[in-house]
Amino acid sequence: MSNILEFSFMWDTFIHLLQFIPVTLFLAIISMILASIIGLASAIVQLRNIPILKQIATVYLLIGRAVPTMVMLYIVYFGLPILLLVFTDKTGIDTGYQHIPPMVFAIAGLTVHTGAYLTEIFRAAILSIDKGQMEAALSVGMTWFQGFYRIIFRQAALVAIPLLANQFLGLIKSTSIVFTITVIELLGGAKIASVETYRYLETYLVVAIMYWSISIIFEKLFLLAEQKLGIFKKEANI
């Protein structure tokens, strides 16, 4: 080996690994969307003090934030099939759990984990909106839902975006652990490639650069969204 870093090899690896980027993005984006729905719902349940649902949300938050993502992933991966098996046994309804692709478990695990954090983000963002905004909405005759969707949510979303961006960048990195449950994404693909060539350093440098590039692109996208949504917002004057 003449050079410490073989650049032509790195380039080839880069090209080879490009095929795994869609998997990583698919995992991250779908999990983020599902987690946003769960997070928003459980934030509302908590803020509106809806009985029973509130208790469920509280337990979910405790577990979701306390359990490491990888452990969560394993629990979903090994636990969900058993749950479905029992369900099939008891009811005779075939869930076809043997045929569920590991990708589904990966998304479920990441969603459960991320949703708990998003709950807190949405809760704080909604709480930061002056309660006079909802009162004004109700006073002109809107329903609670109209007021929430048209007024509160849109203001809260703007508050939440930078935090959501953070969470999403973290989630992109978290997708790298789904390799452990046999989903081959960017890191998984790189591991396989490096085993074949023994060029670990080059391969992982390429992977690092690829994660970094993805992060930068999304950071910019979130910033753009923040600017676009924030036209009504006063500039910070610090």
Binding site: D130, G132, Q133, E135, A136, A137, L138, S139, V140, G141, M142, T143, Q146, R150, I151, R154, Q155, L158, I231, F232, K233, K234
Partner: protein, 251 residues
């Protein structure tokens, strides 16, 4: 017409409304005055159920509600017939001046967008802010925001507009412009206006009916000359003496 029948409201141990009975005639300008903490805001907010009274009845023309039994649908109905102007304006921060007025028309009243826009512009001009249609609330002064708050309420053409100290949060030099708009409103519209305010001079000028509240009860009520110039009750005299020099109200 709004009628309160034996309205009670407590926040925990703190009894804020202790049996309010009164009738506010249709089309009248009724001003509610009274010391801080006397329950004026709470009474006003009990009309559109932003604050739900504990017991009593609220009657708005044909809507007759026992507050304990009022359903979501009842509350929605009463909110569609009323509008409110808030002390802190509460303009929708994510909407322009024009959109603030359009919102209730388009979303609640289901007015087609073009017509809603036209109507909103009309009311924006009425409060002298046609040129600020595209401004967001943070780009407007307090006085301008409140004038838009008034336009937002007017545009809905409600049976009742509830004003909760519309000028109290304003810098002194901005109070005048808002009172000017309010005077115009009292002359031009025929909906019922209920105004909580500390502007005694304004009350004297525009009110048909004045209610003086203290400690969760109505101490006295009547025409402004009577209540503001020749109050019978000591508590009213005491309260007014803080606003008017003795000489003035002996005239």
């Amino acid at each position: 017409m709004i009628e309160f029948r034996n309205i009670h409201k407590a926040f925990g141990e703190n009894k804020v409304l202790k049996g309010i009975n009164c009738t506010i005639p249709t089309g009248s300008v009724t001003v509610i005055v009274g010391p801080s903490g006397s329950g004026k805001t709470t009474l006003l907010r009990s009309v559109n159920f932003l604050e739900r009274a504990d017991s009593g009845e609220i009657i708005l023309d044909d809507i007759h509600l026992d507050v304990e039994k009022a359903t979501k649908a009842d509350i929605h109905k009463i909110r569609q017939r009323t509008a409110m102007v808030f002390q802190t304006y509460n303009l929708f921060k994510n909407k322009t001046a024009l959109e603030n007025i359009m919102e209730g028309l388009a979303i609640v009243r289901k007015v087609p967008k073009a017509a809603a826009k036209e109507k909103a512009l009309h009311f924006l001009e009425k409060v002298g802010l046609g040129h600020k249609a595209a401004a967001y609330p943070h780009e407007l002064s307090g006085g301008q925001q409140q004038r838009i708050g008034i336009a937002r309420a007017l545009a809905l053409n409600p049976d009742v507009i509830l004003f909760d100290e519309p000028t109290s949060a304003l810098d002194p030099e901005l109070v005048g412009e808002v009172l000017e708009v309010m005077k115009k409103v009292t002359q031009e519209v025929n909906c019922t206006l209920v105004v909580v305010t500390h502007e005694i001079a304004f009350a004297r000028e525009v009110a048909d009916h004045v209610i003086f509240m203290d400690g969760g009860v109505i101490v006295e009520q009547g025409p402004p000359q009577e209540i503001l110039n020749h109050p019978k009750e000591d508590r009213t005299k005491q309260f007014l003496s803080r606003y008017i020099s003795l000489v003035e109200y002996n005239i």
